[in-house]
Symmetry: C2
Subunit: 152 residues, 2 copies
Amino acid sequence: MDIEEGTPPQRLRALPSRLTNQAALAANRIVDRALAEAGVRRYHYALLAASEEYGPSSQAALGRRTGIDRSDMVATVNDLAERRLLDRAPDPEDRRRNIISITAAGRRELTHLDGLLAVAQEDFLAPLGAADRRTLADLLTRLVDHHRAEQG
Amino acid sequence: MDIEEGTPPQRLRALPSRLTNQAALAANRIVDRALAEAGVRRYHYALLAASEEYGPSSQAALGRRTGIDRSDMVATVNDLAERRLLDRAPDPEDRRRNIISITAAGRRELTHLDGLLAVAQEDFLAPLGAADRRTLADLLTRLVDHHRAEQG
DNA sequence: CCCTGTCGTTGGTGACGCCAACGTTGGCCC
DNA sequence: GGGCCAACGTTGGCGTCACCAACGACAGGG
């Protein structure tokens, strides 16, 4: 069994953290390419999805849901508000807050993006069967939950 | 079962690509913190490891092994050569190439980093037992190999 | 000898994930 | 009511990673 030209060193191949990172890189490449078709980045999708599922919320609350930093949230909301996919309005009951709501156009765009993402996931998971996909999701979920609880 | 404050939207939670990315983020945070103890970044470790395992090689060859871009390789080699962990010498047989070799100090540093990384992996994989870890590594390897073959 | 390709290098780009600081505003406790 | 602390949006910045285009130097094949 020859060592191929591009084979990483054993030290790196045996590193679960690197394996995870390489898989994430592949996933992100595929997802980013899909979202780019719609002129959108991952942050945009995450924000639209959170906005749709939790209804009108403050930027800070949406940030907590999506893991997007408050400062990055500003720019992301700017982008989507400019395209009329989100609405940003001051909260009359708490003047510190902005109330972010998804628009009808935003919902349509979200549905469209869902379609693109479904294809992307299929691409990413292509080599795995249904049972393996469930196993993978389960294992990753346990890891992510553990590290979220540990210090989030 | 209440929905916690920081719970991501179902759309995001159900996305394998995002799950993978979140796991990779957790892994990278842990690994970066560990390597930072030694004043080192992931690129540095990858390059040292490749250099040790494959012996004297050109920068381009090491780049292919590690997945580091030729342009980023320059700076990474600069860093490590400056610390005398690597040696950079022109190849007399092909004047386009530099021959990169790991030094004795580099080997010692690599051993040290291996120790730090072992702890980090244990941290990252803490919630999983031995069998689960093997399963995870297997699934991720299949994904990574697939996407490397597909277009690498 | 020309052509093609590789090599190292420079310079630049973009997304992501962060952090610090500020002024504004709310809520709480004395 | 006054004081204090916490949360909010915003600005501005940072570092890493991953990538791309272009260049001059050089090697090798036709």
